[in-house]
Amino acid sequence: MDTKKMINYGLWMLLLPVFMSSCEQKDTKKVIEGNAAQQVYVEPGEYDEFYAFMSGGFSGQITAYGLPSGRLLREIPVFSQYPENGYGYSEETKPMFNTSYGFVPWDDSHHIELSQTKGEFDGRWLFVNGNNTPRIARIDLTTFETVEILEIPDVAGLHCAPFITENSEYLVSGTRFSVPIPQKDVPIETYKENFKGLINYVSVDPEHGHMELAFQIEMPGFNYDLARNGKAVSHGWSFLTTYNSEQAHSLLEVNASQKDKDLMAIINWKKAEQYMEEGRFTERQTSYFHNLMDESSGIVESEEKTLTKILNPKDCPDMVYFIPVPKSPHGCDVDPSGEYIVGNGKLSADMSVYSFSKIQKAIEEENFDGEIDGIPIINYEAGLHGILKKPGLGPLHTEFDDKGNAYTTFFISSEVVKWDVETKEILDRHATYYSPGHLVIPGGETRKPDGKYLVAMNKITKDRYLPTGPELAHSAQLFDISGDKMKLILDFPTKGEPHYAQAIKADKIMPNSKKFYNIEDNTHPHATLGEGKTRVERDGNDVHVYMTAMRSHLAPDNIEGFKVGDKVYFHLTNLEQDWDVPHGFAMQGATNAELLVMPGQTKTLLWEPKKVGVFAFYCTDFCSALHQEMSGYARVSPKGSDVKLKWGLNEELRSGQQAANEFYDQARANANATASNN
């Protein structure tokens, strides 16, 4: 056994770097050492130290995990409808999916960005991009709910987004695929002539977080892949990797890998702001949607925007530069000091590290090697801090700790490599299982990383978990990076395909977490603020049911007078004012989803009865010992029948519209009296 191990060990040393995803699972005793179990064990009733927010990739959502436990705390629906709570199905939230293409209930969420103040996470909001139908979403971290989605016009594959500046001034978002702008019917082979790329600057309102498309920068038709913004010394600048400088439009894996270098775009956005103020932009008619949830009613308002402002580098000198970067770069990462920028060339054996001050000097001295579309190309060597020689195969992403070290994932050689940013010396390497994409260190993108943990998000799981058919959950691996050597301490499965994650100290979010919605602040026009105000009203074929939920009954729970062909709107108000007591609502035969209504909220489900009979509805969230009793019946009569509206709860059914209206007027007067007294 021992000799076998020795031979194995020797082989591994010889073969590094190797393509590991084809390997058998290794003996975990070799990779786990010391007190890993104790390090990741969070005792029952205790809290995790960090929240880690992971994007869901093709799930379109975000998940929140606790670190170091790896426990899933919550899935936050963002770009995909979520029948579990009615997000995207309820009348209030459906407009969140409005786009210039119509209602789009899915997307591909990639990059998580936490809001920042002075280069540190402030725990207020979370932003994430939708890749396929270009959009950016904002999640409110007091409620963990998506409250805003902004579409980005005239781009394709919004992969290079939504990278945030150090005071959350902008979310920098570039197009991954260049397209004709404005869109037109042209042969694809006219790519070089007709296709352009846009880099978008989305401003964030400092008080409310509301997003607005401030300006777009028109760029050559490359593929803009990833970005980071400068911080501290480099604040005011953005850095974006590009690939396909060949401008190929078919079989990119070959045709976009012809040159030995691509380009990194460097943008002086303070300069861009100045040009905007000077009015050096052109305006273009287009169409894109801005969807925003009103905090007090929970209703999403959707607005079509029709104008964008575009800056062209030709008319705006000293705003955009290029610098060569090794072939097909992916990640583009800025260290905590803001001085060093790492460009990871996927297909290069070496990694280039750039120096911000050297880039500035090269710009000053006009040390350029030509230009593209009026954009100067900075001399490669002039901007270089140095080269990391042969660190591994397929470098993708880099994050930083608080001790001057960088950690880079290598997709092909399946490992994380630790190196010193200043000296470019490789300090440690650790295998991951298998093929890591992004990695995250809490605060690793900010001025103040917390160099305690690192999570590698692997693209291939294979033999790490009990098999679940052809597809396995993607695996995340937690490393302790507090010492000189990285220690693998936990594997945990993740949802969808996390393309990136950010982790933040729990105490920056925990104290602000909302426990329920104040019912006094509920301004939903169909709210029912008290059981005495419950009623049913008909308006042509539309029927509005004003219903309340309280442990453990729905009111009204017997309703008659619905007819086939009606559109029935159940407006359910949860009257609870206690933490973690949502009520659900499910209607037999409803063709959408359920509602899950938080305490103090109102949500609306549309039901279009198609059959005659008596149908049950009930609460879906186990809310009390009498949850099973929380149910009711809706009677549906044939179209054109004269069954009158009747509704009630444990009392004679109230009937007649007139009586209901008097009752409602009285209730409204009471509510107004309450409002004026508070």
């Binding site: 442990r551 609870e576 004012q577 206690d578 508070n678």
Partner: protein
């Protein structure tokens, strides 16, 4: 309350026999709760029937304040009416008719504003939970609002039961 003191010897015996077993196979009666309360260090306010919480002393004037009643009723309509009727009919929780004749104003306001602690420590509240089987939820009512609700209860008692404040 007084004859309970006779049971102290009995309780001591029971406590010796129970060997620390926490199994709750039988339903506790209000009497059992009160015996337990006797055993533990019971806060003075609970012994006085004022419950436990922020409200130590409420001064009432015999005359009712109509403005407070109006606000109290609107809060009742929004946050309480789902479970409590104004008659003596119990639905989810007990009917409110006669509440100020049964409970001291401090107890009522503590029950509204400090329900979780009341259910943990106050024997009267515990007995009601045994009866109704649904924990009263915390409805996030401020002390000021609870006072207005109390005023509304006093008026309701006058109308429904013909008298108010008999528990003081």
């Amino acid at each position: 309350m007084k004859n309970l003191k006779l049971s102290v010897f009995l309780i001591a015996t029971i406590a010796l026999c129970s060997c620390g077993s926490e199994g709750e196979s039988e339903r506790k009666t209000a009497k059992d709760f009160q015996r337990e309360v006797e055993k533990k260090e019971v806060p003075e306010s609970i012994k006085e029937g004022k419950g436990i919480g922020e409200i130590k002393q409420v001064e009432l004037t015999d005359e009712l304040d109509e403005a407070m009643i109006k606000v109290g009723k609107s809060i009742y309509d929004m946050k309480c009416a789902s479970c409590h009727k104004l008659t003596d009919q119990r639905v989810v929780g007990p009917g409110f008719q006669g509440i100020t004749n049964r409970r001291k104003p401090e107890w009522i306001m503590n029950m509204i504003t400090n329900v979780d602690v009341m259910l943990e420590k106050d024997p009267t509240a515990q007995a009601l939970l045994e009866e109704c089987l649904t924990r009263m939820p915390n409805q996030n009512v401020s002390v000021g609002d609870a006072r207005q609700i109390l005023e509304f209860f006093r008026k309701n008692d006058l109308e429904m039961a013909g008298e108010k404040d008999k528990a003081i």
